[in-house]
Amino acid sequence: MEIKSILLSLKQNKFMASIMVLQIAFTMAVLSLSVLLAAATLKEWNLPSGIPHDDIIRVTPRFYDPNMNVAAAVQHDLQRLQAIDGVQAVSPTDQVPFAAEVVRDVYLSVEEEAQSYKTNIFSADEKLLKVLDLTLIAGRAFTFSDVIADPDAKNSEVMISQSMAKALFDNGNALDKTVWLNKGSDPVKIVGIYSDFMNGETLNYFGKSYQTMILPRSSWQFAAEPHYLLRMTPGLAVQKLEDIATVFYQEQGRYLAVYERLSRIQKRMYDGRGSRALTFLVISLVLVLITSFGIAGFTSFQVNQRRKQIGIRRALGGRKSDIMAYFLTENSIITFAGLLLGTVVTLFFSFELSTMEQQNILDLVLLMVIALLLWFINVVAVWLPGRRAVKVPPAIVTRGS
């Protein structure tokens, strides 16, 4: 193509060319930064939960009267909840899926320098598997007799999730192996492996969404009260929510801290990140729109300004496709310069942002995809008004003289 001619022609329009270059560069910077931020924020976002979260209710009552017999109250609650129509199973636990924030380190040997593995440990009774609708993959599930109620007694057995098994042992063959729940102490034997479910935001953020353990334990006491997880008949959860809450009112000495469906916790887990990333994306889309309108507008102005020129080129034997190619090439040169500068600007700001956000957000592949996308948008933005350019009749050269 006649790149040299185009460059010479651009030299005559230095000001506008540099305005366009800057505009494309900044647009690329905003778009890339937004996409990079969104990608960094949204990694591990909205993964499958592994449980029927729409049909599970979480209830968290808290006691404030130290004289209360918590163990007995919990038993009483469980009985009353189980009796409610639509409740299929209830289990008291110390953590809630999507919101398990107590991250623990476990070890595969007793030594001081043993490697640690991150996990969320759920203390619960034997019904948790049924409540969460988890599948037993290997070994055995806990029964009522495994559940320890004495606060001073220690557990000797544990169940772990499939992902946890893979994390601990490369081949996932974890059955009958021993895990230390604290450094150098509290060894427990792995007796069962169950299907994965989402733990909570902290481990999710580190890409360890499904690493969990279940400890058969029900030693509730004051200041260590359980949450109740209720598995509802499908479709009944919303309708029964208020009925369930009522059970806990009208009783002195405690209050109902939270009651909600797990789907709401799931939403909360992702929303902060999601809405933030979305805001940036929407903003940069608006900007891409503005820029493409600007480029289309400017091209159409150029077409008007250059009608005569186009006519001359046509008269000298330029085909319609030559005229379109001219505009596209001219714009691509500008776009290319803009994208090059945009990459530099993006790199500069992404280093700044990486420090601000305390994580490396740079992703060169993504950057190239964005550059290609912008180039494509530019081509479209030129092509549309360019169709008017090719319609300029060559006979224009003999007019107006």
Binding site: E2, A315, L316, S401
Partner: protein, 233 residues
């Protein structure tokens, strides 16, 4: 070389039809230098547009160098213009953003010639019009006469079969006009057919043949060619 048979051009708007050209029959032979005259609005420009393949026509046949152009598509017309016709305009119509070299190169580009070939032709054309030293100048840095010589260089660089000149001296003073005319005659002598539209009788008389267009109709004016030769000498 150029043969029109029964060619008509009608401009239609919603309200009226204008017959810009009526049933033109014309035959121009290779090597002729033809001047076309006529009052404004008579159809000179339309004739030029048709002859130069800048516009299409509805009726008749037009043979350019033996090929009937009627019914050709836009791309074929473009290629034909590029190869067979060189244009020279009253207002020069140079591309203001480009230096002389690149201006002259434009039609060669469209013909898809190699870089070496282009270079050789551009340089030769510049040589012919006497502007070889100005190749890197922009059109606006030249006088009107020089600009028209650039336009001529561009027109002949592709070695077309014929030149279409539209009031080539209209924007020039008499001295410059003289130079441009001499250049055109030189080109004609080397074998290129030239069709020149002008309203200047004096210029027209320097051509081999005069054609008048009046109200869309074409007729030959009788001049003695010998007269002309005497005058020229």
């Amino acid at each position: 070389m150029l043969k029109m048979e029964n060619v008509s051009k009608i401009y239609r708007t919603e309200l009226i039809e204008t017959h810009a050209l009526r049933k033109v029959d014309l035959h121009i032979k290779a090597g002729e230098f033809v001047a076309i005259t006529g009052p404004s609005g008579s159809g000179k420009t339309t004739f030029l547009n048709l002859a130069g393949l800048l516009e299409t026509f509805e009726e008749g046949d037009y043979y350019l160098d033996g090929e009937n152009v009627r019914g050709m598509n836009d791309n074929q017309l473009s290629d034909l213009r590029n190869e067979k016709i060189g244009f020279i305009f009253q207002s020069f119509n140079l591309l203001a953003d480009l230096p002389l070299y690149q201006n002259i190169e434009v039609p060669l580009r469209y013909r898809g010639l190699s870089q070496a070939d282009r270079k050789q032709r551009v340089e030769q054309a510049l040589e012919t019009v006497g502007l070889a030293s100005r190749a890197k100048h922009l059109p606006t840095q030249l006088s009107g006469g020089q600009q028209q010589r650039v336009a001529i260089a561009r027109a002949i660089a592709g070695e077309p079969k014929f030149l279409l000149a539209d009031e080539p001296t209209g924007n020039l003073d008499s001295l410059m006009a003289q130079q441009v005319m001499e250049l055109l005659e030189k080109i004609n002598q080397s074998g290129t057919t030239i069709i020149m539209v002008t309203h200047d009788d004096k210029l027209a008389r320097r051509a081999h043949r005069n054609i008048q267009i009046f109200d869309g109709q074409v007729s030959d004016l009788e001049y003695s060619v010998a007269d002309d030769i005497v005058k020229r000498a």
